[in-house]
Symmetry: C2
Subunit: 144 residues, 2 copies
DNA sequence: TTAAATTCGGATAGATTTGTCTTAAATAGA
DNA sequence: TCTATTTAAGACAAATCTATCCGAATTTAA
C-alpha cells in the first residue's frame, strides 16, 4: 500500500507530534528507537519531511526534530504520503494504465475509484493530532 | 497498490477470459500485444496463474492460454491478487508493523481496516466475467 | 520422423527501493 | 575559541522487483 519510506515517515511524524505536544524536541536516535526503524534511512525521510515543512529540524547539541504545536491538528496524513510517495495512490490506475481516465477506463475503474477515493478521504481527513492522542493514552503503538 | 506483476496478471486474465468466452485460446504474443506488457515477464506471471489453476496452458502449435468457460464467473479478482502478490494487501498493517493486530493496534488501525476491508470485499466480489463484459462491449480497455 | 510452434524453467541483467557509511555543516556550551 | 553533539548530504551497497535471454520440453502436423 505505502512504501517503507512512507510507513517510517508517518510513524516518525506521529512520534514527533506526540512529543511536540508535550513540549519535547526529539533526536533521530530517540525516533528510531521508538518506531524501530533503520537510523540512516529514517534520517533521509526526516530530511524530506523537513524540506516539505512538515517538521522542523535543529542541528547541534539538544537538536532534533519537532512540529509546530499549532500545526499538529492541521497536518493531515495525506500531506506526508504525498511528500514521500507522491500522488500515484490518489491518481493512479488500479490496473497500471499510464493514467486513470474515466473517458477510456480500464475494466476495474468504476470499482477501483470508489476504494481509492475512500482511502484519499481517510488520509485527507486524519490529522497527526487525532492519531497522537491514541498514542498518548497508550491505546495505540508505533512498534511491536 | 498492486505490483506490476499483479497488474499484468489481472489484465492478462481478463483478456484470456474474454477470448475464452468466445471459444478462443490465446497465445502469449496475442496477450502481450493486447495488454501492452513485456513478453517474458508476462510469461512468468501466466505460469504462476497456471500453477494456481486459474488459467490453463497448452504447449505446442496452436497452444496458448485459456480459462474454463464455466469457471469464468466464479474466478474472483481476489484469487489473482492473492496468487501474485500474496495476502499482505488483505492482512498487512498500514504503517508497516509486522502484522496487523487489533489487540495492539497502530494509530491508523481503525481507519485503515475500513479501507482495507472495502478493497478486499471489492476484489472478492468482482469476477472475471463481470469485467470481461465491459471489454466485449467496448466500454473498457486493457491498454491506452 | 522431422520440423515448427509454443510454453516452461533457470540464469542473468537492469531498475528501483531500501539501507549504510563517511564527511561536512551547524550549534550549544565549556 | 574549542570541543562535543547533532542533523545534512552525497556516495555507496544490498535487497527486491521488473525484465530479458536462452535452451529444454511438449505438441501438432507435414
Ligand atoms: S482507468 Fe484504471 S482505475 Fe481508472
Ligand atoms: S495494526 Fe496497523 S493497520 Fe492494523
Amino acid at each position: 500500500m505505502f512504501s517503507k519510506a512512507c510507513e517510517y515517515g508517518i510513524r516518525a511524524a506521529l512520534f514527533i507530534a506526540q512529543e511536540s505536544l508535550n513540549g519535547q524536541r526529539v533526536s533521530l536516535k530517540a525516533i528510531t528507537a521508538e518506531i524501530d526503524s533503520p537510523d540512516a534511512f529514517t534520517a533521509k525521510i526526516l530530511q524530506l519531511l523537513a524540506r516539505n515543512e512538515i517538521i522542523v529540524s535543529t542541528k547541534g547539541p539538544n537538536g532534533g526534530f519537532e512540529i509546530d504545536k499549532k500545526k499538529i491538528d492541521n497536518i493531515m496524513l495525506s500531506e506526508i504520503v504525498d511528500a514521500v510517495d507522491g500522488d500515484s495512490i490518489y491518481k493512479g490506475c488500479g490496473l497500471g494504465l499510464k493514467e486513470c481516465n474515466a473517458d477510456k477506463p480500464c475494466p476495474l475503474h468504476n470499482r477501483f475509484v470508489l476504494v481509492r477515493n475512500d482511502l484519499k478521504k481517510m488520509l485527507e481527513g486524519t490529522s497527526l493530532f487525532e492519531l497522537a492522542t491514541g498514542l498518548e493514552t497508550g491505546l495505540t503503538f508505533l512498534k511491536r
